[in-house]
Symmetry: C2
Subunit: 179 residues, 2 copies
Amino acid sequence: MMKNKSRYAILGILNISPSTGYDIKKYCDTVISGIWHENFGHIYPTLKVLEQEGCIRQLSEDKESRKIKYEITNEGREELFGWLSEDTLIQPVRSEFMLKFLFSSQLPPENVIEMLNQYKQRMEDELNKYIGYEHELLQGIPDISAERARFLKATLRRGILTSKASIEWCQETISELKY
Amino acid sequence: MMKNKSRYAILGILNISPSTGYDIKKYCDTVISGIWHENFGHIYPTLKVLEQEGCIRQLSEDKESRKIKYEITNEGREELFGWLSEDTLIQPVRSEFMLKFLFSSQLPPENVIEMLNQYKQRMEDELNKYIGYEHELLQGIPDISAERARFLKATLRRGILTSKASIEWCQETISELKY
DNA sequence: GGTTTCATGTAACATGTTACATGATTCT
DNA sequence: AGAATCATGTAACATGTTACATGAAACC
């Protein structure tokens, strides 16, 4: 039986450090934005469910503010590690951009080149974002183990190699279309 | 107002050549499997809707068999070209594999390396699939315009560059983990 | 004659996104 | 004082997947 993947994303983040729903969202929007995405409409209900199941619990401190900080329990950690050692199935791809591109052979070449240039620009921005993060990471982030830093760095490397490949493809394709 | 993307995938495929729902599925599972995915539960109802809207129509021939072949109408072509010239929003990423990887810093390194090797193998299979398709395409596929062949080829190149980047990342990360 | 592939379809379910509501706190 | 960001949450909606049902045609 297949379980919701958001729960593992949340468990994984809480396993790094206790967080609020809002912190989790922020983490998804910045550090791991290149590999994962969550929205509030999913995070808060999932936190409730995980709490009921005993996988996470509210931290008793921080009672003064309206913030609700959760931490992972041993049960939750077990659940997380169980998922980590499962095989990952290949996920079906749905790239709207590439679909559009493939269907664009009847469009004026200038339009397609314009579209590719825009996309290339976005990939270049991505690349710079990753390079920036990598730089920060090399400066050293406090509160992070050497082992975790290694995995974070490898994840950023992935983003860098992927966006470089995209940029290369854009260039190749643009010059191919220009003859 | 946001419209379902499956309709454009289907319109785009029908714009290449008249097809049945089954043909569309086959096309998604082979030629464009690297960039798009559809399942029957989506294709058949969407075909119905598109027909009601006048974007596609049933071909009158082929009455003998139970096959239902659709062709795109001028109205459908307009709809398709409208979508093609719209800007494509960046889609949020959700890579289960990378999420797992990122959370694996507490796992025994051998396990992580094993996981990476498996993934690398899959990427190598992908790469070979694309190279195979590219080879076929260079042999020439009948019933395909030079312009369309160009776009198909560029799409395959994308798959090739992307899987190569993935393989490179796996190698880099494996040796990084081995010291 | 039996298995695989072709072919269409629906219902139930799972998942994901958006819009809205509310209000505190921090920054300018 | 006003704007931006922090913070939590729900309901409605949109989208996507799986399991099931049915049967013809092609292949071996």
